[in-house]
Symmetry: C2
Subunit: 155 residues, 2 copies
């Protein structure tokens, strides 16, 4: 189903899907809100998750913490309806444009996972870098929604 | 300069930058056009590239093919001026919003690396998946711009 990668010109300029999965069998995925264009999350797919996403038009990822296919929204109810999928020049990353209605994609409760901004300019090596919260409104309460599910964030 | 990761609550809800670099010392980066919101590219930074990007306000990446810090636009002239940097909930991916004026970010010549769209729906396992070109206009001719530089796309 996915074309073998045997020619760089074909990978870059050809019409056939030949995704490159890394040494762990994964490809990085950027997920954006099709209405606002905002980046919602960054995740990974394996070959099966990519196939399921294309076929069901619902985002499926590979959960690195749980080591299994993850139908996004299975627990929270915030299913991601796929509007468009694109792939990049060397076919080693994927862009999903999705619809989550008024829902959220971040397990912490925010609409987007990217709710903090890093200040620009000279860094003092002795000091920590203090960020700014750009989004302060949680769409849901993770404790109520996820209950006893383990937190995917790892040290 | 980057806070040590020793508490999940602090990583997710705290103000301090404590990025997680993977087993190769890299963090994935999504780069968007600050004007249109379009995704331009997906790349990686090591700790030094992230620091240089924050301090110089010009995007620096880690080139996995060339194994060195890569000041984007050094060869092509399409320098990426950083407008904003965000980090996600578990601090293992970065979003750069940048200004490249009327330039391009894709080494193949297109404005964005994501110029092909994957059709949705049932896949026939026996057939290859044929994509659609969403962007057909090259901003520059890679042969003229990169000359003898090696192509970063790998099989």
């Amino acid at each position: 189903m996915f074309k073998k990668r045997h020619n760089i010109k074909e990978i870059e300029e050809g019409k056939y899907l030949s995704p490159k999965f890394d040494e762990n069998g994964l490809i990085p995925v950027i997920t954006t809100d099709f209405k606002t264009g905002d980046i919602l999350m960054h995740a990974y797919m394996n070959s099966e998750a990519l196939k399921k996403t294309i076929e069901t038009k619902e985002a499926h990822y590979w959960s690195r913490s749980r080591k299994k296919i993850w139908r996004k929204g299975q627990v929270s109810g915030f299913i991601q309806k796929v509007i468009e999928i694109r792939i990049d020049d060397d076919q080693d990353s994927v862009w999903l444009s999705i619809d989550i209605g008024n829902g959220a994609s971040c397990h912490v409760g925010y609409r987007s996972c990217f709710y903090r901004s890093i200040p620009l300019g000279k860094i003092n090596d002795e000091e920590e870098v203090k960020m700014e919260f750009k989004d302060k409104i949680k769409i849901f309460d993770p404790k109520k929604v996820y209950k006893d599910e383990p937190n995917p964030t790892k040290l």
